[in-house]
Structure formats: C-alpha cells, structure tokens
Symmetry: C2
Subunit: 112 residues, 2 copies
DNA sequence: TTGACATGTAACCTTTTAGTTACATATAAT
DNA sequence: ATTATATGTAACTAAAAGGTTACATGTCAA
C-alpha cells in the first residue's frame, strides 16, 4: 500500500492518471505529449514505472507499443481505510451541497 | 489537493491517521507514545503540522493541550477524482468477494 | 537487411524530505 | 514565584525523489 501513496504524491503522476481516466489504452508516446517541453520521455517512463509498480495502472503490450490503463482498485482502498460506511453518505451529501452552492455540476466537475 | 497527497505519502503520518481514526481527540503527547524509541516528539509534531496544513486533521486547544481529530473529507475527494459512481459498486463488490474468499471479515479488517 | 520508431536502462545531479538536537514559549501545579 | 509539563521554532544532516543525458534493446516497414 505504501507504493500507492508514494505514487500518488507526485503531481505529474496524478496528471497521468487523469489522462488515463479520461481515456485508457494510451501508449508511452501519447502520454508524453502533454509533457512535451516540460519533461523528457525517460522521466515520464519513470513515472509510469512507479504507477505500474503500485498497481495503479495496468499495461498490455501490442507489438512494440505498450498500452496503459487506469486501475481504480487501490484508489478505492484508500477511502475504505479511513472512512466508515455511514460517514460516506454524509460526506457525499456535504460535497454535493457544496457543489450546488458553488453552482457547479458534480458530474462535470474539474478536480484540483 | 497536492498537500493532501504529499501528507499521505509518509507511513508515519498514515499511522497517525490510523490512531485518530480509532480514537479522536488525542494530544501530541498521546500521539507520540506509539513512536517512542522510534522518533522524537519534534518529528511527530512536524508530521502533525503537515497533516493539519493538508486539512487531514482538525485541532482544538484545551488549555495547554492540543487535541487532534481526523477529517475524512479530503480523503473522500481522492476517490471521487478517479472513480466513477457506477464503478464504486463493482469495486466494493469485488473487495467484499476477495475478503470472503480470504476468510477475513471486512468490518474488522486490518489495513496494509 | 537496413533504417526508423517505440520503449527500456544506467549514471549522474539537484532539490525535497524526514529526522535530529538545541532552544523557546505558554499553561498548570506546588 | 518557581518548577514542571505541553507544545512550538530553528538550524542542520542524511537519504530519497525527480529530473537529465547517454546508451541499449526490440519491433515494424521499405
């Protein structure tokens, strides 16, 4: 579990997960695009390695291309560690209320 | 949000959250006890500061004592970032099945 | 088979982080 | 008032993390 939290600690890696959440099956090359002029391909690859080791992403080889997919299971495990079932509903209601007051739609909400 | 992930990246801090999850309202001194002979009071205080800055804990002063409480809201936000509603049920069912097969009780489950 | 493309590995550098020790402040008790 | 208790701050050190460049391997296409 330590690997999961360590992996999520970096903004670039969270951004990668965001991209895979939007659309799965992306290759290293495709995942590099948003980071062009920010960091090298090798740097992105290091991040992918860390995410994969933490089982936050799953990969499938297709010829010389490696496709990446988000795995939500370890993320879900984070919540179940510190939040009791009865609390979930209260918090969900709370954030829904907050969104409503802010005039934002929960479904289309952009995350920080 | 970055502060939250950074805060959760450290095992000692997660352990502190575990203690506050079990029982809230603990003082710095009390939170130090499990770490005696592992790290200094000042080190624990640094961790508490980081957790507080990330709003993962809330504090209340009572005389010269500072009481600490777990705040589950930012933890819940992690899940909503990368997990769609319809997926939650599937994952919950999956981990319940896994627990059943392992012969462990979900309610009394110890986390890694 | 040769060259281009896609991914992988290694050595190195810089910044961040987790911990320490020493000193400081504030509240409670005698 | 004085002392003990509880928490806070600062300077420093060692290790970990994120990034770079250079080199290596494997697959596709002409």
């Amino acid at each position: 579990m330590d690997a999961v939290f360590k992996a999520l600690a970096d903004e670039s890696r969270r951004s990668i997960l965001d991209h895979l959440y939007t659309q799965g099956g992306k290759t290293l090359g495709e995942l590099c695009e948003p980071f062009a002029q920010i960091m090298s391909r090798q740097a992105v690859m290091k991040h992918l390695r860390i995410l994969e080791d933490a089982h936050l992403i799953t990969t499938v080889w297709s010829g010389r291309e490696k496709k990446h997919y988000l795995n939500p299971v370890p993320i879900h495990a984070i919540e179940t560690r510190w939040i009791r079932k009865f609390e979930k509903q209260r918090i969900d209601a709370l954030s829904a209320l907050k969104s409503a007051l802010e005039g934002t739609d929960t479904k289309g909400k952009k995350n920080a």
